[in-house]
């Protein structure tokens, strides 16, 4: 969050009217004249004006005194909008964005033309990727087109949106106004690096203005991070620290960057250094807490994977995760015709807040998983409400990033790697495929999908609340569209184009023979054909759903039976909370119509429904009606959704697999049931023993039957099995 803001504080300090009265101090600092600037700031602390004193204390990093002086200043007759805007920037720098935003708003309430307040709001919004940053910058640009720092900020946001041309233009405008605009120079250097060109000219210029301007390198590192260049970002954070050893924000960013690369020891040192020097923002403190909590994790390695799991759930989860990773690696090695050098590390967090620490300062949903090079961090299924999360789909998604980022050496636009990852989920299972949520249908109906060349902006600075979700859908459906029209190999060819540093425009031309405009036209036509019936009937569907929900509440089952199938036909992809499948199934259950209930629940399952309770109900009905293999398949789906806190699920599936003579799989399930701490531990150990024995593993069978009898020495079936084992010829 705060990582990108330190330089902005300096930058704004020089230009604001308040600071204009104290220009020398901040300018000196900006030009690397540290000793002179300190003397200047010390003098300011003795000024008769509280606002000036606040600037002095701020420059000396005496934060509490600066804060106090600003408080006094805002009470004085001179303490207008300008003072509040400066105070807001101080608070932002000291990690208090909420109060900072309030002060910026108060400043604007007093003076609606206060440029610094707009810039302050832009900075806070950008740090939170909330989509309003560009709006505020544009207001500032309109009010002060001749202030270099406004163009510098516009350049930064443009590059974060991967609009390199606009970023270069804005940086050049800033440099035309002030030839030593350091942040514009940094943006220019970052553009060169992201485009795989030499940044030397710009770096030399940066050094000539101020050789100790670490923030310039930190900005470059930040832009590299946003373009998936995590290794390079770490290198530039190191340069930032070398230039300015006391730049604690860069130490913190370096620590977090190292954590992302799995280099914990050095990360811990850097973060502790920040902490002990008073730099204790949320990212630093939470990252340190997370590092401390790693003592409660275990690491499980094999040739191609490293799993980092909380001790309390590693026994349960590691067999599933490891098996799935091996499956994914085999599939992607073949599909992408490449191999990842070295193992892929997957970290699984049962506490969502721990996972959130790993995604801080990253754009996009960041809600389920995140990939940094060959390190994947993701939520554990136990971190989420049952049905909210499919860890299998998340793993296929994130692993796709690992391959695409490796294949392109990180030179890939966000929309393409996210789109391909979403597409891969659907390739793994039709039930995990890209689904049009109500937000997506509304976006389609209201023609809000973005042109392909601007799609990245929907991820970084969304213009409406659901735009990130819509952008994921659009990116995924573009890859589906390419596969449908040109075939799956074209997607791999697109990967190769990006690896050759082609732009999206070039990649489309080269592989699909279309201009971006032609592509957009054909894609929108395709999506329209697929979704216009659902989009155009969306309101009708919603009315029917309301009717059905009300009928369910008053148990008017006939209304549901009449209206339900038609509602599903209008929008079969709707499987989230309050879906029609659920109401209809409940209705058939009440009416004891087992066949219809199975039919409804199976339709829900195939539409991608993920409510474990509904799927387990289906499995039970399937089992009772004799479709035991269908029941086993249904429960296997639940394993990908919520395999935790449910010993009964594993035991039931184990029983089904045992009956089908899938003894190894049954062993896995009974083992999982034990790892889930079942109430009936002895009974579960016995089942495990029986599965081992049936699979020909007598020694393990004896271990398990002894475990059962140790708990319950008089457990008759276990006694019988023990006697059998000891009477058998091999004993």
């Amino acid at each position: 969050m705060r990582r990108r803001s330190y330089w902005i504080v300096l930058l704004l300090a020089i230009a604001t009217p308040l600071a204009a009265a104290t220009p020398n101090c901040w300018v000196m600092r900006r030009h690397g004249q540290e000793n002179e600037s300190r003397v200047c700031f010390e003098q300011l602390t003795r000024n008769t004006d509280a606002g000036m004193r606040a600037e002095g204390f701020w420059g000396l990093e005496e934060w509490d005194s600066a804060n106090e002086q600003f408080r006094i200043a805002t009470r004085s007759p001179n303490g207008g909008a300008e003072t509040k805007a400066r105070w807001g920037m101080l608070l932002h720098e000291r990690f208090n964005d909420k109060d900072a935003s309030d002060l910026f708003r108060e400043a604007l309430a007093q003076d609606s033309t206060n440029v610094d307040a707009y810039l302050g709001l832009a900075i806070v919004s950008a740090d939170n990727f909330n989509g309003k940053a560009m709006l505020y910058v544009n207001k500032a640009l309109a009010l002060a087109p001749n202030r270099a720092e406004v163009h510098e900020l516009a350049a930064r946001f443009a590059l974060e949106n991967d609009d390199r041309d606009l970023a270069a233009t804005e940086a050049d405008r800033a440099l035309a106004l002030e030839s030593d605009a350091l942040d514009a120079i940094s943006v220019r250097a970052a553009i060169e690096l992201i485009s795989e060109r030499q940044p030397d000219t710009w770096l030399t210029r940066l050094q000539s203005v101020n050789p100790h301007y670490g923030s310039g390198y930190a900005q470059i590192a930040h832009h590299l991070e946003l373009h998936y260049r995590h290794d390079d970002a770490v290198a530039y954070y190191r340069k930032a620290i070398a230039a300015e050893p006391r730049l604690w924000s860069a130490h913190s960013d370096l620590g977090i960057g190292l954590m992302r690369l799995g280099q914990q020891e050095e990360a811990q040192k850097e973060l502790e250094l920040c902490y002990s020097n008073g730099y204790r923002d949320a990212a630093t403190v939470n990252s340190l807490r997370l590092l401390d909590s790693y003592k409660n994790y275990v690491t499980i390695r094999d040739a191609t994977t490293v799993l980092k799991l909380k001790k309390t759930e590693s026994d349960l989860l590691h067999p599933y995760l490891q098996d799935e990773l091996h499956r994914i690696i085999a599939a992607y090695n073949k599909k992408y015709a490449m191999r990842i050098s070295g193992p892929v590390q997957v970290e699984v967090y049962p506490d969502h807040e721990d996972f959130a620490v790993r995604t801080m300062g990253m754009p996009g949903l960041g809600a389920l998983g995140v990939t940094f090079g060959k390190v994947i961090a993701m939520d554990s299924p136990s971190a989420r409400k049952p049905g909210d999360f499919n860890w299998g789909a998340t793993l296929w998604h994130e692993m796709s990033h690992v391959y695409v980022l490796t294949a392109t050496k990180n030179h890939v636009p966000r929309w393409f790697t996210e789109g391909l990852a979403v597409h891969e989920e659907g390739e793994r299972s039709a039930e995990w495929s890209n689904r049009a949520t109500p937000d997506v249908l509304i976006a389609i109906r209201e023609k809000k999908l973005l042109p392909i060349l601007k799609l990245d902006r929907g991820f970084v600075y969304p213009q409406y609340p659901s735009q990130v979700v819509v952008s994921y859908f659009q990116a995924g459906s573009i890859c589906d569209f390419i596969k449908a029209n040109w075939g799956e190999p074209k997607l791999l060819e697109m990967v190769h184009s990006y690896a050759d540093l082609k732009t999206t425009q070039e990649a489309i031309k080269q592989n699909l023979g279309l201009t971006p405009e032609q592509f957009d036209e054909q894609y929108l036509d395709w999506i329209d054909k697929r979704y216009s019936p659902q989009a155009s009937h969306f309101d009708e569907w919603r009315e029917k759903l309301k009717l059905i929900a009300a009928a369910a509440q008053s148990q008017q089952w006939d209304i549901i039976i009449n209206a339900g199938p038609a509602a599903i036909a209008l929008y079969p992809e709707y499987i989230s909370e309050g879906n029609v499948y659920g109401f209809l199934a409940e209705c058939y259950r009440e009416k004891n119509d087992v066949a219809a209930e199975i039919r409804t629940l199976a339709a829900y399952e195939h539409a991608g429904g993920q409510d474990p309770a509904m799927l387990k109900r289906l499995a039970t009905l399937e089992e009772q009606s004799g479709s035991k293999s269908a029941a086993a398949e249904t429960l296997t789906r639940v394993l990908y959704i919520y395999p935790v806190n449910d010993a009964d699920l594993h035991r039931q599936l184990g029983d089904l697999l045992y009956e089908q003579k899938s003894y190894d799989k049954a062993v896995l399930e009974f083992g999982s049931a034990i790892a889930s701490h079942p109430v009936d531990r002895a009974g579960t150990e016995l089942r495990l023993a029986q599965a081992y024995l049936a699979g020909g593993h007598k020694d393990q069978a004896e271990e398990s039957v002894l475990a059962a009898l140790e708990i319950a020495p008089n457990y008759a079936p276990a006694q019988k099995l023990l006697l059998e084992l000891h009477q058998s010829p091999n004993k």
Binding site: P386, D680, A682, G683, L709, E710, I711, P713, Q719
Partner: protein, 318 residues
């Protein structure tokens, strides 16, 4: 003393209690059950409480055909009806008989007084205690599954009485789900964790608390109930057996589905039964020593004893 050691010692005492329990069976003691479904307030709760009470009624009648079972639901669930029922039992129950009271519903606690909500006037913990204290049964179990039920514990404590409450204190005031899992425990053979063909109060408690915890975890809701029990006069209520708690609970059989009694009454098998009990005690002793033993030696000895026990059981089953 380590936690493991306490646990092992408890198992030894548990064995002694089990033998005492067998004696109680032989004396043909009766068990009196009173099940009350309190005022629901809303149709949903009303239905849920009544269904749970009726399920328990059915479970106890099936498990113990000679049991004296009184179930008060809906209009019958009044303070006066409850008092009459308990007075009736107080007139007939003998010291060797067991007594079980299960309260299902809402409770309240004002900081000093716990009340169980009934149709008409509520009944407070002191009144419940006073009525139960008049019952001569020396083995009593009160299961209060209501909200705020932890607030009733101080008043309900009495020698020979185990108390189970759905909440750890009177301040846990949200409606509870514990009753649902308590009833489920008595129907689910997997609650019989020691495979003794019976479900004790302790096994039912363990099952219900685990299932309750899983319910809250899977709903991603903060748990608003933490069931506890106590079966001694002093000491805080606990969530698991140990530190002197749990002897009465583990020997208080609620549901039986085996033929223990028939075997105990067969003189021809008494020698085998004695051998079985000896082996069981040896196994318990060995388990008590496990932490200090070489794992291979422990396994060898345990296997030998378990094999002997299995063979004895095979003889008994003939």
């Amino acid at each position: 003393m380590t936690r493991v050691r306490r646990s092992k010692r408890w198992r030894l005492l548990h064995r002694v209690c089990a033998i005492l329990c067998l004696s109680a069976i032989q004396s043909r003691a009766a068990t009196y059950y009173v099940i009350v479904a309190g005022l629901g307030g809303e149709a949903d709760y009303e239905q849920r409480f009544t269904a749970a009470a009726k399920d328990l009624d059915k479970i106890f009648r099936t498990s113990e055909p000679t049991g004296q079972i009184y179930t008060l639901v809906q209009q019958q669930a009044t303070s006066s009806r409850l008092k009459n029922t308990l007075s009736t039992i107080a007139r007939s129950a003998r010291p060797q008989d067991a007594f079980v009271l299960v309260l299902i519903g809402h409770g309240s606690f004002d900081g000093s007084v716990y009340k169980f909500n009934l149709l008409g006037p509520d009944v407070d913990a002191e009144e419940i205690a006073e009525m139960c204290n008049r019952i001569a049964s020396q083995r009593q179990l009160i299961v209060d599954t209501s909200s705020a039920s932890g607030g009733a514990i101080p008043a309900l404590r009495y020698p020979g009485r185990a108390i189970v409450t759905a909440t750890k204190s009177g301040t846990e005031k949200n409606a509870t789900v514990f009753a649902r899992y308590w009833v489920e425990a008595l129907q689910d053979p997997s609650a019989d964790t020691d495979k003794s063909d019976s479900i004790s109060a302790l096994e039912a408690f363990t099952y219900a608390t685990k299932k309750t915890a899983t319910f809250y975890e899977s709903q991603k809701r903060l748990a608003t109930e933490h069931a506890v029990f106590t079966d001694v006069i002093g000491g805080d209520p606990v969530r698991e057996a140990g530190t002197g708690q749990g002897y009465l609970m583990s020997s208080f059989t609620l549901v039986r589905f085996g033929d223990l009694q028939q075997i105990a009454n067969n003189p021809a098998k008494r020698e085998l039964l004695q051998k079985k009990e000896d082996l069981e005690q040896k196994i318990d002793t060995l388990k008590y020593q496990k932490a200090a033993m070489d794992p291979a030696d422990y396994k060898r000895q345990l296997t030998a004893m378990l094999l002997d026990l299995a063979q004895v059981q095979q003889e008994l089953d003939k």
